[in-house]
Symmetry: C2
Subunit: 155 residues, 2 copies
DNA sequence: CTTTTAGTTCACAAGTTAAAGAACCAACTT
DNA sequence: AAGTTGGTTCTTTAACTTGTGAACTAAAAG
């Protein structure tokens, strides 16, 4: 029998899951990842997962494997048991934020290519683009220092 | 006849368009928005757009209207002409970055709710979560000042 | 060696998205 | 008033996504 969760937790799984969905993760994987963050059990079995979330074994299997492959979930085993117990890697959350900031930088480098290709005559538009580029450049330059500041603050 | 674009520009439209797609925009809208950023004509007609991008009138019409509704594109008209000339609103780019940062904050507030629901016994995990929350809190607090710093630097 | 456990894989159904094409319509031209 | 221009809307189609259930498999238990 799978662990039972309070209604509040089940609601939170929906809310958090929706958030992951919005940022591009598949629905089933989003729920599973949310569940692993919300359940008080440090780790859950395969049966727990598809039982609590009321999804088919195949949906659970595929999504769990996706989450493992994308380094967002890992698992432990217990001596004498064949089951795997899955848990979310919190580290992946901060890495997710990191990736978001990196994608700003990818965008910026495309913008720079756009600027190179644009005719000089369209001065006003180009200035607008340069403004965005300079903003993103600045962010990229300053964020590492900001991160350090936070690390120091923690101590 | 629609305006013709160099191969380099057409490639860039693909690259930039792909980037918008990845961040959730529909394919046709992504190409149109990219085109409006890359074309040297300050603004393009309906015919230009579906002609250059080789898409149906309906695809173009729907996507243009979506872009207008979501405030990413606007248009001008010329005296004595019925055509509309569409152009991208660069302001929407910076607003896009802004929205991304705001979504970090929404995420953070869900994380806080998760923390409230978690049992105290799972100390290590909770500490990890608190760490992420504190990181996001810090970012939210510091980013406005960073933005001001950039604005002053520009002058 | 037969059954159970812990999953995986496959074949399919259902739903969603994206685009095409044709018909349509309103405003302007001739 | 008949045609043309600049789109819009509707219907259909193709493709992709998501998930189900059933069959399968490999390891362990009885």
């Amino acid at each position: 029998m799978p662990v039972q969760l309070s209604d509040k937790k089940l609601e939170l799984i929906e809310e958090l899951g929706m958030h992951f969905e919005k940022s591009g993760m598949q629905p089933a994987a989003s729920r599973i990842f949310a569940l692993l963050m919300i359940s008080d059990q440090g780790e859950l079995s395969f049966e727990d997962i598809y039982g609590i979330l009321n999804m088919s074994k195949s949906a659970a299997s595929n999504s769990i494997n996706f989450l493992i492959a994308s380094d967002q979930v890992d698992f432990i085993t217990k001596p004498g048991e064949r089951k795997r117990y899955f848990r979310c890697k919190l580290k992946s959350l901060k890495e997710g934020v990191q990736k978001m900031l990196e994608s700003m930088d990818v965008f910026n480098s495309i913008l720079k290519k756009v600027l190179e290709q644009r005719a000089e005559e369209t001065e006003e538009f180009n200035k607008g683009l340069e403004d965005v580029v300079s903003y993103l450049d600045f962010m990229k330059m300053e964020l590492p220092a900001l991160f350090l500041k936070w690390e120091n603050l923690k101590k």
